[in-house]
């Protein structure tokens, strides 16, 4: 049973500003796909379009969940969450004045996830023992690394089929970035997730990617089927890494 994501010819923007132009991508079942690009190129907008938070002006976004296809365009965010698509937002976006445990429970706000919340919260504490120690602490008072763990754990509370991760490296020290990327890789393997990750940190992101796309000024500039294809591409070296 596949859990994949197909984006076809999506255009999106805010008001008169077009941010994304004719973007097509494919996230095959059980793979990790990275969306690479520097600031302001439309990565977060594309992720928001998938979650139904921002509505594309044209194009199709189709999620295949357990072999069944759903067109996400026009669906409300809560309906998309119900399908089993979870987002780890950029900058973590925790609920700072709620406790760690309350943050996790909000990850299971939907009725579909609620029924399993006890089991899932145990999974989360098992995966991130640090969170179990701090379950009564306010989320806003934790360090950035712990907050990133909580943001990931909160998304896992849905027991998602497809995990969207938006810029997990933002505001983290280099060592923590590589740890976070490792964690995403481990979670993907453990929960058999399909992962789409938007990231600026090329070298870190490409480590765990099965394939990747480079987005420049709202357009897909390069599509690579493997990490090597990205590493050895002159275009990327020139425009993205500046080498």
């Amino acid at each position: 049973m596949g859990n994949s994501l197909t984006i076809e010819g999506v255009n999106a923007g805010y008001g008169a500003v077009r941010v994304i132009e004719n973007v097509s991508m494919n996230v095959a079942s059980g793979t990790t796909v990275v969306l690479l690009g520097t600031n302001g190129n439309g990565k977060s907008t594309l992720i928001k379009c998938i979650m139904g938070i921002c509505r594309p002006t044209s194009g199709r976004i189709v999620a295949e969940i357990d072999g069944e296809k759903h067109d996400l365009v026009g669906m409300k965010p809560e309906a998309i969450v119900d399908l089993g698509i979870a987002l780890v937002p950029e900058g973590r976006r925790l609920f700072p004045r709620l406790t760690v445990e309350e943050n996790l429970l909000l990850g299971a706000f939907r009725p579909v996830a609620r029924v399993q919340r006890k089991k899932n919260i145990d999974f989360c504490y098992e995966t991130f023992p640090r969170l179990a120690e701090r379950r009564r602490q306010l989320a806003g008072s934790m360090s950035g690394g712990e907050q990133q763990m909580l943001a990931l754990a909160r998304a896992l509370m849905l027991a998602p089929k497809i995990l969207l991760v938006d810029e997990p490296s933002v505001g983290l020290a280099p060592l923590l970035v590589s740890r976070t990327i490792d964690t995403i890789r481990d979670l993907k393997a453990k929960y058999q997730l399909t992962v789409l990750m938007a990231e600026q940190n090329f070298t870190q992101a490409i480590r765990i990617a099965d394939s990747g796309y480079v987005i420049v000024h709202g357009r897909i500039a390069f599509e690579g089927r493997s990490a090597d294809a990205h590493n050895n591409n002159d275009l990327i070296r020139k425009f993205y890494l500046g080498l």
Partner: protein, 346 residues
């Protein structure tokens, strides 16, 4: 504590308040107590949207006035009926009207709730300060409408004559109104408390802390905000519904008074916005202080008191009295430290 137990305790507390007011045996206690209770309802209602969801409403006076003017419209209805309706319908009208206070409270609540819902639809795409400005505009628009609506008295105002008798053992009418407001306070507090502990309140808290994150967790943010604006508006309208009977003569500038907007923000802020008890404490404290100042010094002093206290609390205890007590009792959970974001140590 179970909801039913809470309601029982609240009713007992209300009974104690009523008994105490009777023992004092001074009609002024009911007169002043009514105003304090009215602010308990207003502050609690404001807090449903402002405290739980984080949407600051500057237009409380508009919802309060809606309730009051719904009552005026109902009171004036028999006269209108006598003019335009056929004879048998007039007889029916005279049989039903004047409507009893609880029914008027219900009507005021429904009308203000519907307007709250409409306001929500129009403004809830706005966030932060823009939402607040929109609510301020709502108050101005509604006041202009009422001023130009002759049926409810327009800018001249409207007299509402109290019935000579009350349905309860012939107690004084002011005492009757006091009792009604006491019952409404219990109902509002019980509603606020049960919201706080429900999945709805959990969703509200998520919206308050981070709306985008709430959305990506699947919290139906728009729907929840509409529930909050409707509920908050409805309770404010209910608080306003008996007001014409209390005051006797209602004019737009008193119904849309600045005091309602300011008090319903200041009382929860001073008491504490995170739980139902905060607005209660704030309203009882400020309301009583204002009533005392009105009698002993000067009625215009009351808003000055509110302003000074609000400034003081914002500086000394930004989480209100409840937050201050939690800190003093050491039950406070660690405050979010922005410095932790600077990172590097985990």
């Amino acid at each position: 504590m179970r909801n039913s137990l809470f309601v029982l305790l609240a009713v007992l507390a209300a009974a104690a308040v009523y008994a105490a007011a009777r023992i004092v045996d001074n009609p002024y206690v009911f007169f002043a107590g009514y105003v304090v209770l009215q602010f308990v309802v207003l502050a609690t209602a404001w807090n449903i949207l402002g405290g739980y969801c984080g949407y600051v409403n500057f237009g409380s006076a508009a919802f309060f006035a809606l309730g009051a003017y719904t009552t005026v419209a109902m009171v004036k209805f028999p006269a209108l009926a006598a003019k335009y309706l056929p004879e048998p319908l007039i007889a029916v009208t005279n049989l039903i009207f004047p409507l009893p206070i609880p029914v008027l409270i219900l009507f005021g609540g429904v009308i203000a709730g519907l307007v709250g819902l409409g306001t929500g639809y129009l403004t809830l795409r706005l966030r932060g300060v823009y939402f607040s400005i929109a609510t301020l505009a709502l108050a101005v628009v509604l006041q202009t409408l009422v001023v130009n609506w002759d049926y409810v008295g327009g800018s001249r105002g409207a007299y509402v004559v109290r019935p000579a008798t009350t349905p309860f053992f012939g107690i004084d009418y002011m005492e009757y109104l006091f009792l009604m407001m006491l019952a409404l306070s219990v109902a509002t507090l019980a509603a606020a408390r049960s919201i706080e502990r429900s999945r709805l309140g959990f969703g509200f808290a998520a919206i308050r802390d981070d709306e985008l994150a709430a959305e990506s967790c699947g919290v139906p943010t728009l729907r929840l905000k509409l529930v909050a604006t409707a509920l908050s508006g409805a309770f404010m309208g209910m608080a306003g519904a008996p007001f014409p009977y209390y005051i006797g003569f209602l004019e737009p500038s008193s119904a849309f008074g600045l005091a309602y907007a300011v008090n319903s923000i200041a009382m929860p802020m001073i008491g504490g916005t995170t739980s139902w008890i905060g607005p209660l404490i704030g309203a009882v404290l400020l309301g009583t202080l204002q009533q005392l100042a009105t009698v002993t010094i000067w009625s215009e002093l009351s808003l000055l008191i509110v302003g000074l206290l609000l400034i003081g609390f914002v500086i000394v205890a930004p989480n209100g009295i409840v937050g201050l007590l939690e800190t003093l009792l050491g039950r406070k959970r660690t405050e979010p430290a922005r410095a932790a974001d600077a990172e590097g140590k985990a």
